[in-house]
């Protein structure tokens, strides 16, 4: 038994019926997250944080048409460099690539 590659067995209407409410919730969570940042106690400029700069670009991908939004989103969030680090900086990843890491 195999799947038809690239096809979800549900119709468009079934996918929307099944998943609309939970994805509506995710949209509202993102909107509330961005509002929360604007209510921050120090009123710091969000564009100073590399993660939020990437987040803004990710929102653009959501509203674009075309091939695999998730793939483009993954690449946007990835380190695009190819050379190994010469020294270990920290054990944990940060969630987005810091485009100013190399400059420091």
């Amino acid at each position: 038994m195999s799947v038809t590659k690239g096809v979800c067995p549900l119709t468009m209407r079934q996918i929307v019926d099944e998943y609309f409410i939970e994805n509506r919730t995710k949209l509202l969570d993102i909107a509330a997250f961005l509002d929360r940042i604007e209510r921050s106690s120090d009123q710091e400029d969000p564009s100073k944080d590399f993660r939020l700069r990437v987040f803004r670009k990710a929102l653009d991908i959501l509203s674009e048409d075309g091939q695999s939004r998730v793939l483009r989103m993954q690449m946007l969030l990835s380190d695009p460099t190819t050379a190994p680090r010469t020294v270990l900086d920290q054990k944990s990843a940060k969630g987005a690539w810091d485009d100013q890491e190399a400059a420091r």
Binding site: M1, Q74, A93
Partner: protein, 279 residues
Amino acid sequence: MRYIEMHAHMVSRTTDDYERMALTGCVAVSEPAFWAGWDRSTPEGFEDYFRQLTEFEPKRAQQYHIQHYTWLCLNPKEGDDRKLATEVVKRIPKYLDRPGVLGIGEIGVNRITLNEIETFKDHVQLAVDHNQMILIHTPHLEDKYKGTKIIVDNLLKFQKLDPSRVLVDHAEEHTIDMILSNGFHTGLTLYPNTKVSAQRAVDLVEMYGTERICVASACDWGPSVPVALPYFMMEMRRRKHPESLIDTMVYRNPAAFLEQSPKFMLPGEAQPAAVPAAK
């Protein structure tokens, strides 16, 4: 419904978790060696861990009629310490003949340092020298794409390595193609926040088919769900995928990969399963 948990760090789970897994149909678990969340200070510390994985943990699993298998290594999070890694790699062979040991894992890279890559290559050479299967960890979040590429590129340099005996785990949308197209098996790991959700895992099955893809909880000491596979099965049903396809993903695919080790036996088998020819 029956399932095989391909990747679970049971040493950091409670006995209640074994019970929940057994109640939801888990018949076997494969446990790779990993990072404890803090660095071990000595090679002897690793030997104690290897004894835990090969002596104590199988007994705990057996209480719930779950077969326990394991993979040994020094994990990528500690791989930057070359002195420690070299010493631990020397000590692994004496554990390889133990009954539940299927191979070397989970090895790989973490922050993709030069040292981590050397430690990774030492482990691959160890596996080649001892004809062991390999289970590979790929890095987290922004490091995943770069790390997976470096891992795959390095694996391809080992000419004696049979890719069908290697599973490159924690694949996501941007890494699955490079893993499968080079002949390796892959795993999708279901995490609440990082890695893939059950929905995205089913999306990937719909996009890439079922061949050489396993699904696992990869549960450990962090936020993770030891019964994530039943949630994956539920998501498959939500999409109207047939039960036979679900069985392929959660039972037959992991069995097909693990059976390449003569030590792996499906539940109820008196004799070790035959080793299938490499594809």
